[in-house]
């Protein structure tokens, strides 16, 4: 897998240099297209080959294509997109070609964000790659970000995941039970993903890098359009910059704009995983965004903000339901089996209520942490005398509790022995 990354680095490094050196516009284009085909080919093979052959076998059963199963190389979706941003930007002359293969390799294999993003565009870090100076302010900022991310992941996302699991497995938990379950999943995925992003940015800071923010309180959005400006910002930016706009964006008439949007969102969905539910999830948001673009956004702007807020959260949370049911947890049929639980079957069962009661504080904490309130308080208090003491205590507490939580989850008494 490391080899695969080395190959990608070498190919794109050479492609970048060649694009920069070649005078002819056509040759530049040819090299770019070749490199993009190779990049997407590798991604396509390792991430989607199994999915494609499986579906081909369903569509054309007589072909009997052998099943391909290749292990998914870690971070391939992220670093492939990073690499492509480089070659495309070189081609567009938005950035200079990197002459040092070490610096370029550093960019691609930069470990903090390799696994879960953000997708760092080359042009955002090209200067930092060679001229960065680690300093103590940046380092301590990195510590804060890392610890914040750790808390999000271990103290919020993990217990939210456990809550979602137990509510999902509580059959006949009632409508409220099912909704709190999917809300818990919504929190899990947000704090998990943004926690990883924060940890990556924090580690980046410690090493002297500055990565752009990837999440900006997405759950306070008042429309789906706004949500996608706040959620996984680096991915949205990438698709807009390297797919939507090259496809013509909104400059080629209404019909073409709609088609472009659908293509972009279908692929955004597919990027998240090789499974039909992700395609559906992408299209779901594509359609919502189109509706908002056509007229709904104007309506939403006139409505009281809590109405548009509820509207947005409803569709976001429902989106996560589609997102959850990937093929490995039952796929679309499990999704169809789950959806009725959101709308029928009693209000809430005693079991579900007992489970939720034990998680009320967690849910409240997650709600607060989804808004900028804590950040605002922090900004106000940070200059106060002695605040640093509180900060140190908070950092130590988070580190200790997170460790305890990770170790606690692994604590696994051999129950069978007890009888």
């Amino acid at each position: 897998m490391v080899l695969l990354m080395l190959i990608s680095i070498v190919i794109n490094y050479i492609a970048g240099l060649m694009i920069a050196k070649t005078e002819s516009k056509n040759h530049k284009k040819l090299i770019l297209i070749l490199s993009v085909i190779i990049d997407l080919g590798i991604l396509g093979f390792f991430k989607y080959a199994g999915f494609i052959t499986e579906n081909l076998n369903v569509a054309l059963p007589f072909m009997n294509i052998p099943k391909i199963s290749v292990p998914l190389p870690i971070g391939i979706s992220f670093y492939t997109f990073q690499i492509m941003s480089y070659t495309i930007d070189v081609y567009r002359e938005d950035t200079k070609a990197q002459k040092s293969i070490v610096a370029f390799g550093t960019y691609v294999s930069l470990f903090p964000q390799l696994i879960a993003g953000p997708i760092v565009r080359y042009r955002d870090v090209d200067i930092q790659l060679e001229n960065r100076r680690e300093n103590i302010e940046q380092f301590s900022h990195g510590v804060r970000l890392f610890v914040l991310g750790l808390a999000k992941k271990v103290l919020l996302a993990n217990p939210m995941g456990a809550l979602w699991d137990s509510l999902r497995e509580t059959q006949n938990g009632g409508v409220l039970g099912a909704w709190i379950g999917v809300i818990a999943f919504s929190f899990q995925i947000y704090f998990d993903f943004s926690g990883y992003s924060d940890m990556a940015r924090g580690l980046g800071n410690m090493l002297g890098f500055e990565f752009l923010e990837n999440f900006n309180y997405p759950y306070i959005s008042k429309s789906i359009t706004e949500f996608w400006r706040r959620w996984h910002i680096s991915l949205g930016t990438w698709f807009r910059e390297y797919l939507y706009i090259p496809l013509g964006g909104n400059r080629r008439g209404k019909a073409r704009t709609l088609i472009n949007l659908l293509i972009v969102w279908m692929l955004t969905g597919l990027w998240h995983g090789a499974s039909w539910n992700f395609v559906l999830w992408g299209l779901y948001f594509g359609i919502l965004l189109i509706i908002e673009k056509l007229f709904l956004l104007k309506v939403l702007n006139k409505l009281p903000s809590f109405v548009s807020h509820i509207y947005s959260l409803f569709f976001i949370v429902f989106g996560w339901v589609i997102f959850y049911f990937a093929d490995d947890v039952g796929g679309l049929s499990a999704l169809l089996g789950f959806i009725p639980r959101l709308f029928s079957g009693g209000f809430i069962s005693a079991d579900a209520l007992a489970v939720i009661k034990g998680s009320i504080l967690l849910l409240v904490a997650a709600c607060v942490a989804s808004t900028p309130i804590i950040r605002k308080i922090y900004m106000k208090l940070r200059e106060r005398k002695g605040f640093v003491v509180a900060e140190v205590i908070a950092i130590v507490l988070i580190l200790v509790l997170s460790t305890a939580s990770v170790v606690g989850d692994s604590y696994n008494p051999f129950l069978y022995f007890k009888f």
């Binding site: 489970v355 967690l362 509790l401």
Partner: protein, 374 residues
């Protein structure tokens, strides 16, 4: 403080933490068996390119790290209390109740209870030997008032109902729930830190069994009382609510024999003992094994008393009950279906028993996959 100083302080705290953890890992002694968990801890994974590329190495390494974390039990305990502070009592499978009660969560509803009971009744019909069954309810069912507010519901009464209706003719069902409930405030029927019933609880059970089987139960004052302090049972080691007080174990031994009997344990090899109580085990960490030395596939007890021959098919709830039953039988054979894999019918045709008695904790009766009776 200047900004630069603050930055230095925060960076230093982080770096010290990271290095302190690394150094503690390197220098704390490693054990490969966890006493509280009763299991072997993960070993350091062997490195190979294959295991690295398949991801096995890293996931094994992660397991090794958390299994061998320095101050592991302290951290687990801290996590238990942290969950408690969040209002999530029972997150580790054990409720911290009032009065120092540690109570197992109710078992899963979707279980094998019906199947197991059906197998037992069908088996009983086939043997022609009088058969009875008794089940010890869950601690949380008896001591419900000590549960925290968010506790799930215990459904032992439904199990009792099912047992009553399914055991009509072939098996005599001995329902302990009324007797246990009636005396739960005068006597401590369960250990606070262990999932088992106490000798007091088992003695109530013994009386009910005698009533049902037309035996004369030995009087309570015909037993000597021995106590063992500092008993921390499974409920404690599962949850590590380390601030909980230990139980004092009360052991009831017949005045006549002081527990003396001819005990033969077959567990691969044959072990013999002259007493049903294994006092040496009180020194170890698993004190409950003082009764008949804990779990074994096959145990034969020649009691020296008058009476018939009894076959007990059981889990560990029987261990403190059988010494009472020894007062009424001349010979008792105990088999544990989790470990005893020979057909029971073979045993029944080789020896003649006057009575068969099933003794199970309700949870095991509902979840065991080993109740296979041929």
């Amino acid at each position: 403080m200047k900004n630069k100083m603050k930055s230095k302080l925060i960076s230093a705290v982080f770096i010290v933490f990271v290095f302190a953890v690394a150094i503690l890992y390197a220098f704390t002694p490693k054990t490969n068996f966890s006493e509280t968990e009763k299991r072997y801890l993960a070993e350091f994974p062997k490195f190979s390119f294959e295991s690295l590329s398949s991801g096995k190495f890293t996931s094994d390494f992660e397991e090794y790290l958390s299994d061998h974390a320095p101050f592991r039990n302290v951290l687990v305990s801290l996590n238990s209390y942290f969950e408690l502070a969040k209002g999530n009592n029972g997150s580790n499978g054990i409720y911290l109740g009032s009065d120092g009660w540690l109570i197992e969560k109710p078992f899963d509803r979707e279980n094998r209870f019906d199947t197991n009971v059906r197998r037992i009744t069908a088996f009983a019909r086939s043997t022609g030997i009088p058969t009875a069954i008794t089940a010890v309810p869950e601690k949380g069912f008896i001591y419900g008032e000590n549960l925290p507010k968010n506790a799930l519901k215990y459904n032992d009464d439904q199990c009792f109902k099912k047992l009553t209706s399914q055991c009509k003719d072939s098996v005599k069902f001995i329902n302990l729930s009324d007797a246990l409930n009636a005396q739960k405030n005068d006597k401590q029927i369960f250990y606070k830190t262990d999932h088992h019933w106490t000798c007091d609880g088992a003695f109530i059970g013994y009386n009910e069994i005698c009533k049902a089987l037309n035996l004369t139960a030995a009087e309570e004052n015909s037993f000597n009382i021995q106590t063992a302090d500092n008993f921390y049972g499974t409920s404690y080691s599962t949850s590590l609510y380390t601030l909980t007080k230990p139980d004092t174990m009360k052991i009831m031994r017949s005045q006549k024999t002081n527990g003396a009997a001819e005990v033969v344990i077959e567990d691969g090899n044959t072990e013999k003992s002259e007493n049903m109580f294994f006092d040496d085990n009180l020194k170890g960490s698993d004190k409950y094994t003082v009764f008949l030395d804990g779990n074994h596939p096959f145990v034969r007890i020649k009691t020296g008393n008058e009476g018939g021959k009894l076959l007990v098919i059981k889990d560990s709830f029987a261990h403190c009950l059988v010494p009472f039953l020894a007062e009424n039988y001349s010979e008792i054979v105990m088999i544990d279906l989790r470990y005893y894999k020979k057909p029971v019918s073979q045993l029944l045709s080789a020896e003649s028993f006057n009575q068969i008695l099933f003794v199970y904790g309700m949870e095991n009766l509902a979840e065991s996959r080993d109740i296979i009776l041929k």
